[in-house]
């Protein structure tokens, strides 16, 4: 039982990170019907950018709380700007082109970012400093939970709650949902769809950057092509939850994290990836649109 709860805690931690990254895929898919394959690499890039900012700040500021807060803010701003740039350069010129062209452009952008990271920081892994977040662990009835895990869980849940509120309760959020359903009809409401797409990229990239920083701070080792594997897992999470559906991405991320952790706990971590795809296939067989995808039939 203790192993189960321990793996549940670990799984929720990893799951929150997957969920944050999955939101970027699902939101962009929602408005553009495009899988932004470069998103995972932007997440990897954010870990490197965050590390650079952290090392610079560490020389100037002594309080690690201030450093962490500033690292998150600056990284989110920089990665959002890159997200917008990515959309302008790689996707906007192809808005009216066939779907496949945009997918190829996304794959190209992914390779450019991945190899760009390698050119700048080299092919060897970089290590996040261990003393930024104090290594505190609590033992609650035999189950260990670390300060870093707690941070990941709390910050992820707060961000997801804020996003959910924004999308469902604000005027801009409603415009985003409308643009995802029918772009021309949204334009007829007076919605500037191009601006909505830009905001979507900003939010998706900012959430992804938080995910990337968590990967760096939680696992500590980062490498130039890690965007591929984290991106793939998060993408699978988005599909499991129902691509285009925001609560779906959150749910899919959590499920995948817990599933991975349980496999690693009871079987072996080397099985985790293989069985992830078995899970994906099984879910796709029974719910082709994902767990929360497209529940409502539209009448014509």
């Amino acid at each position: 039982m203790e192993i189960f709860i321990q793996q549940l805690v670990n799984g929720l931690t990893i799951g929150s990170i997957y969920a944050l990254v999955a939101l970027g895929y699902t939101m962009v898919y929602g408005v553009l019907k495009l899988i932004n394959f470069a998103h995972g690499d932007l997440v990897a890039f954010s870990a490197y950018v965050g590390l650079v900012i952290m090392m610079q700040l560490a020389g100037v500021i002594s309080s690690s709380v201030v450093i962490i807060v500033l690292v998150f803010i600056f990284t989110a701003i920089i990665i959002s700007a890159f997200g917008v740039l990515l959309e302008r350069l790689a996707y906007k010129p192809l808005r009216k082109a066939p779907r496949l062209s945009a997918v190829v452009s996304a794959l190209g952008a992914s390779l450019i970012i991945e190899n760009g990271i390698m050119l700048i920081w080299g092919p060897r892994p970089k290590i996040f400093p261990s003393n930024i977040v104090p290594n505190i662990n609590w033992n609650i009835g035999g189950v260990y939970i670390g300060l870093m895990q707690l941070l990941v869980l709390v910050i992820s849940f707060v961000l997801m709650f804020v996003l959910y509120f924004f999308v469902n309760q604000t005027k801009l959020g409603a415009a985003m949902r409308a643009s995802a359903i029918d772009q021309d009809a949204a334009r007829l409401m007076g919605i500037n769809v191009d601006r909505i797409i830009m905001i979507t990229f900003i939010i998706g990239s900012a959430l992804g950057s938080v995910g990337g920083l968590f990967i760096g701070m939680y696992y500590r080792g980062i490498y130039f092509n890690m965007g591929w594997i984290y991106g793939l897992n998060a993408f699978v999470a988005a599909i499991i939850g129902g691509i285009g559906n925001i609560p779906g991405a959150m749910l899919g991320g959590m499920l995948l994290g817990i599933f991975n952790a349980l496999i690693s706990g009871y079987l072996s971590s080397s099985w985790a990836l293989a069985l992830t795809y078995v899970l994906l296939i099984v879910i796709m067989i029974f719910r082709p649109t994902g767990i929360l995808g497209e529940r409502v039939a539209e009448k014509v």
Binding site: K171, A174, A175, R177, A178, I181, D182, D184, A185, A186, R187, L188, M189, G190, I191, N192, V193, V296, A297, E298, K299, V300
Partner: protein, 240 residues
């Protein structure tokens, strides 16, 4: 009508999809407070004309003047804030949003949401009020059409573009919809109505234009058109 202000002036408008010309140099105008109808069969270019006015498609040449603004170079969301809104062909309601969410999106260009407009729309279409919490995709075709018109009115437009509001509706519903358009006109909104149902449209409209494969072939006051033998034969189903 000549003492009144021209609200919309379309001149030599040409629109094409790739190499196919859908609208081949049409000119027409709409005065403030009028209901003007554009009639024509499928593929005559009616929808293309409305979509071009709303800025969803770019024209090849010609001009669309609304008050003093040239619309052909303006993006769609700006045109809505100038006071032109459209209930598009096929209704295009946001199916997975509720009726009320759809209506509120119609008021997107308004800085502050005006509850009086919403209650006016609920007065026009009591059915929508009954179903305000329901998802728009679960409404019947007629109710979706009411929603599409109501949603377009939420921006408090000066000019309302209606694209085949009667399409696919039962005759009794067509009557209701046209009755409502009359009310909308009386409230001071100028209406440009695109229709295949020529009889109903001409009974309601002040003037009409007839479009055939991208060109205007007839124009005139509704009464003249209703009485014209060519129109009667081709569009009203009467034999000479």
């Amino acid at each position: 009508m000549s003492n009144k202000e021209k609200l919309l002036v379309v001149e030599n408008l040409e629109v094409s999809y790739g190499s196919i010309e859908a609208v081949k140099g049409i000119s027409f105008d709409v005065y403030k407070g009028e209901v003007v109808t554009i009639l024509g069969a499928n593929g005559a270019g009616k929808t293309t004309t409305l979509r071009t006015i709303s800025g969803l498609i770019k024209s090849k040449s010609g001009s669309i003047k609304y008050k003093n603004f040239e619309l052909t170079s303006m993006s769609a969301h700006k045109i809505v804030s100038l006071g032109i809104s459209q209930a598009p062909e096929g209704r295009r309601v946001f199916g997975i949003l509720t009726v009320e969410e759809n209506l509120k999106l119609g008021a997107y260009t308004k800085k502050t949401f005006n509850p009086a407009t919403l209650s006016w729309i609920y007065e026009l279409f009591p059915r929508l009020k009954e179903r305000k919490k329901q998802l728009a995709g679960t409404l019947s075709g007629g109710e979706q059409q009411m929603l599409a018109i109501g949603r377009a009115l939420m921006s408090e437009p000066e000019m309302l573009l209606l694209d085949e509001p009667s399409l696919g509706l039962a005759p009794v519903l067509v009557k209701t919809i046209f009755e409502t358009i009359k009310h909308i006109k009386l409230s001071g909104v100028t209406v440009l109505l695109v229709e295949q149902n020529a009889k109903a449209a001409l009974k309601l409209a002040d003037r009409g234009y007839v479009l055939e494969v991208g060109k205007i072939v007839f124009k005139g006051a509704s009464k003249e058109l209703l009485e014209s033998p060519e129109i009667q034969e081709a569009y009203l189903g009467k034999k000479k």
